[in-house]
């Protein structure tokens, strides 16, 4: 499924941060988003996921084709690893979680309460959730935070397999994942012009 983003403008905190963002992402390709802190990588991903409306422009397909992994993993500490993952699988109507557990090396941790996992193990559980959504386009926001080198390789391999079956991925990251078939989009040229009047009077109260 091809992702088309046309002339997208996005807003954070009432101000435009990016405008005129356009790209095409064919199936079986990944797009790596780059740009300095605060440029709007997270906001762009949230807009693609349908969590906030775009100020202008359009995204095809809609949010129903997208699976979004934010900084927070939505893990419940008192449920086991398997229960956490099975919940998301049932919600998305996916039958099996064994492949996701295997791909992210969680099989030996399946019975452990998620609250007792290390930060990197929690992150792997959060990323494994993407594999049970059954959606074509995966959106990742800094997926490799707190992952060690082996886990980064596991993650890159899982994304690689997703691309092989015709999926696609948009990844905001600062490190090189070594993905075959990845394009890089630098967001810096799309930075929105600052507002002309500086701060409005009423903005001081926002």
């Amino acid at each position: 499924m091809e992702v088309r983003v046309e002339d997208l403008a996005i807003v954070r905190g009432g101000l435009r941060v990016l405008e005129g963002v356009s790209f095409r992402l064919p199936s079986a390709r990944a797009l790596v988003l780059r740009g300095p802190n605060g440029i709007g990588k997270t906001t762009l991903l949230r807009t693609l996921a349908g969590l906030q409306p775009a100020d202008a422009g359009r995204v095809v397909p809609g949010p129903d084709a997208m699976a979004y992994a934010s900084h927070a993993d939505g893990i419940k500490a008192t449920l086991s690893v398997e229960e956490n993952l099975r919940f998301w699988a049932r919600l998305h109507g996916t039958a099996s979680i064994t492949a996701a557990l295997r791909d992210f090396n969680l099989e030996t941790l399946a019975e452990r309460p998620a609250g007792s996992l290390s930060a990197g193990q929690k992150r792997r559980l959060g990323l494994a959730r993407m594999a049970v959504t059954g959606r074509a386009v995966w959106l990742f926001d800094e997926p490799t935070i707190s992952l060690d080198a082996d886990s980064v390789a596991l993650f890159a391999a899982a994304v690689g397999r997703h691309l092989e079956v015709g999926g696609s991925a948009v990844i905001a990251t600062h490190i090189d994942l070594g993905l075959a078939g990845a394009d890089v989009l630098d967001l810096a040229p799309y930075k929105a012009a600052p507002p002309e009047h500086g701060h409005d009077f009423h903005e001081a109260f926002l």
Binding site: A49, G50, L51, Q52, P53, P63, D64, M66, A67, Y68, S70, H71, A72, D73, G74, I75, K76, T78, L79, E83, F87, W88, R90, L91, H92, G93, R129
Partner: protein, 221 residues
């Protein structure tokens, strides 16, 4: 949606889930009442229906900020918003799970607590029925309040201030059913408040999940 209800029920009975908190609070309110108003059984049986309803309502209020705040903090609410079920369904499932873990135990415990307040014998049936019909409205209205305050740090107090005025109609008609029932009036005497109580519950169940979903959407932006 069944998956979400099952998960919320599992979370509430695990450690730190808060199941039983409302029940314990209800018990304490009921046992403190005789200390405050005196132990004369005549006085207690006059006010029993009202105190039991008020206690159940306050106990329900206690757990409202858990409905959405925990899911908001760990990011699960955002992920639920991108899941295939609509947010209206999420709001309805959350309200139902809250009722099963709070409203239902309160309803079942109320007759036992009625003994402590010397509730007159004909009142037990009507108290239980009025709570069974009224408490779903408390959970649905509470979910709406939780949706409005979900992005706020320590929004619990604000949540109470928003929700309590909305609880007034349910309290008035619910307590009225229980009071008239305790006075020995049969169905003929209390059909009006009974019908109004049911009407409020049905209307809130039909309308408020949409308002809750809209509030969640805005708060997630």
């Amino acid at each position: 949606m069944m998956a979400l209800i099952a998960r919320d029920l599992a979370l509430s009975v695990r450690a730190g889930g808060g199941f039983g908190l409302a029940l314990a609070f209800f018990l304490i309110v009921v046992t403190l009442t005789p200390f405050a108003v005196g132990p004369e059984s005549a006085t207690l049986s006059t006010i029993a229906a009202g105190i039991l309803w008020l206690g159940a309502l306050l106990a329900c209020l206690l757990s409202l900020d858990r409905i959405l705040a925990l899911d908001y903090e760990d990011g699960a609410l955002e992920l639920l918003a991108t899941a295939p079920i609509p947010l209206e369904g999420v709001a309805a499932a959350k309200a139902l799970a809250h009722w099963i873990t709070t409203g239902l135990p309160l309803t079942l415990a109320a007759p036992a607590f009625g003994v402590l307040l010397n509730l007159p014998a004909p009142g037990y049936v009507w108290l239980t029925l009025s709570l069974a019909i009224g408490t779903p409205a408390l959970s649905v209205i509470g979910t709406f309040g939780a949706a409005l305050t979900v992005g706020l740090k320590r929004g619990g107090l604000l949540l109470s201030l928003i929700v309590l005025p909305l609880y007034v109609p349910t309290l008035i008609f619910g307590a009225e059913v229980a009071r008239r029932g305790a006075e020995g009036q049969g169905l003929a005497g209390l059909s009006t408040p009974f019908a109004l109580l049911g009407g409020i519950t049905l209307a809130t169940i039909a309308l408020l999940p949409f308002a809750s979903a809209a509030a969640i959407r805005i708060n997630l932006r």
